[in-house]
Subunit: 318 residues, 2 copies
């Protein structure tokens, strides 16, 4: 962040027509945003939502309530404008891109081998990097991929320890039996790849998925372009956590949009030291929780950059 | 609410392309909104924000960090577009009206007599009723009035008991000494008007203020016109609580936009059985927290009314 812009934004914030601190989190957001944009009184350019879609070898193991073909069906729904994320992107004035990652070629089943080889992994990260609009005002990375709460749980467990018990939840709503299968699959993956778990990027390659790798690439690209990021739910945050584990501070340009109902999301946010902007029980993915938080960020920036100062308005101070 | 619209909205919600319940609170909001609008697939017409401003006899007792003239100065700021609420109304596409209630004639000091006589009280409620646009898609009632956390605390204490200790907080940020004064003022008001405390409307008349009475009138008018309401912070909710105390269920057309940093607001929401949509530490009033929540409601309605069903999108169900 640009320290002159941060200082300028702090000074402006202190002069606005409100009691000091009365807008609380909105003030923090605006100052943070000013720093990353290098502008003490920023405007927000059009936000960008990117939904990355991938298919997972482990989906064949019955870890989801939905069949694997739903990934490609939902991509068609995104393109036709019929999904939840389309409505939220529209509501908050965001552009929306959909990036399909080799949907006809699922990743390898991580209980049998690495999800991706080096080439596939790099290609997925690069696809994410390239999808980012450098002129976007803020980036939301969403995902779609039947089976991907299982891969995200495996990644989180590999990064933070604790095994499947802590990190595996019900995703889109699996039965008790499928939950047990998810846990067994994750523990099997952790055991098979135990030699790779010291390197966060290798964790992502062996246990993650193409859409998780793409989100990581996009979040890095956003930082490169000084585009602030709003993190979405458990899967997005598992992907982002890989970056933070690889180099602490990498996510300083990101805020947590919401905490989802997926049990381990709150634990993951806590490991990332991110306090969510919203807590509305969502558990859909696609970027929906983060897209909803665009509204909060827009409100914060509008107040910061649009309000009058005490001097301008002729209002007496305390 | 219209039960056919509620049932229609529930049926539609169950068919949308998402796992059941995955949008959680957004689904509840959309169904609630559909019921009050009498439309199973509603659109949201332009929201209306009304900021009511009043002056308070008790302000002379040093209960605020700001001098009483700030009320009229802030009204000028609202009219010039320079306050926080102006920016948030713009951000979420709301119209904004400012209603000044006899600013040159503060209410009576409630430690010496009733804040308003019958005529003044009815006039203030009527001003609130008349300010509501019957065609609004949702109503936010905000307020400005130096000293009005003191009046709101007195109203809440009168309705729910517990005395000043529980209900008086720091408002815009008073010192320890002023906090003690606020508590003493509230306790003195409760003692003086102890005979009037059984009738919630008399509580509002004796201990409240014109902007609190106007908000109550506006919230009632909104119900009459089937305009859903988003409640703001402590002062708005103290005003709304009078209606609920007078006739339980009166606030069924209202949701809590946020929980503020004013300590007693959470306690007040809990008495009203309202779970706030946002919790961002705001403590500004003006309707700011509720205006920010317009974005959440817009997102909920956009998803409900804009998403494709499983059948329309050709997506396999679980």
């Amino acid at each position: 962040p640009d320290s002159a812009a941060v200082e300028g934004a702090q000074a402006r914030n202190a002069a606005l027509t409100k009691p000091p601190g009365a807008l609380s989190r909105l003030e923090d957001l605006a100052i943070w945003y000013a720093g990353w944009r290098g502008d003490a009184r920023p405007e927000m350019a059009e936000p960008q939502v990117i939904v990355f879609a991938g298919n997972h070898g482990v989906a064949a193991r019955g870890v989801s309530a939905f069949p694997p073909e739903v990934t490609v069906q939902m991509v068609a729904n995104f393109r036709a404008g019929g999904a939840a994320i389309n409505q939220l992107a529209d509501t908050f004035g965001a552009s929306m891109d959909v990036v399909e990652l080799d949907l006809d070629r699922p990743t390898g089943d991580f209980t049998e081998g690495p999800a991706m080889d080096e080439e596939e992994f790099v290609a997925a990260m690069a696809a994410g990097w390239q999808a980012v609009n450098p002129a976007a005002g803020v980036l939301v990375t969403g995902e779609m991929g039947i089976g991907n709460t299982t891969t995200a749980a495996a990644v989180a467990a590999a990064l933070y320890g604790g095994g499947a018990e802590i990190w595996v939840g019900r995703g889109t709503g699996v039965t008790d039996e499928a939950l047990s299968r998810k846990r067994a699959v994750v523990d099997a993956g952790l055991a098979l790849h135990s030699d790779a778990l010291d390197d966060p990027l290798d964790v992502l390659r062996c246990l993650g998925g193409r859409e998780l790798a793409a989100m990581a690439g996009a979040i890095l690209a956003a930082r490169h372009h000084r585009v602030p990021v709003i993190l979405d739910g458990f899967i997005c945050c598992a992907s982002a956590a890989v970056l933070e584990a690889a180099a602490p501070g990498t996510l300083d340009h990101a805020v947590a949009g919401h905490v989802s109902a997926e049990g381990a999301h709150a634990a993951l946010l806590s490991r990332l030291n991110k306090v969510p902007l919203l807590s509305l029980g969502l558990r859909l993915g696609e970027g929906t929780g983060a897209a909803l938080a665009i509204g909060v960020l827009k409100g914060a920036i509008a107040c910061h950059s649009g309000m009058a100062t005490f001097g301008e308005a002729g209002v007496s101070e305390a």
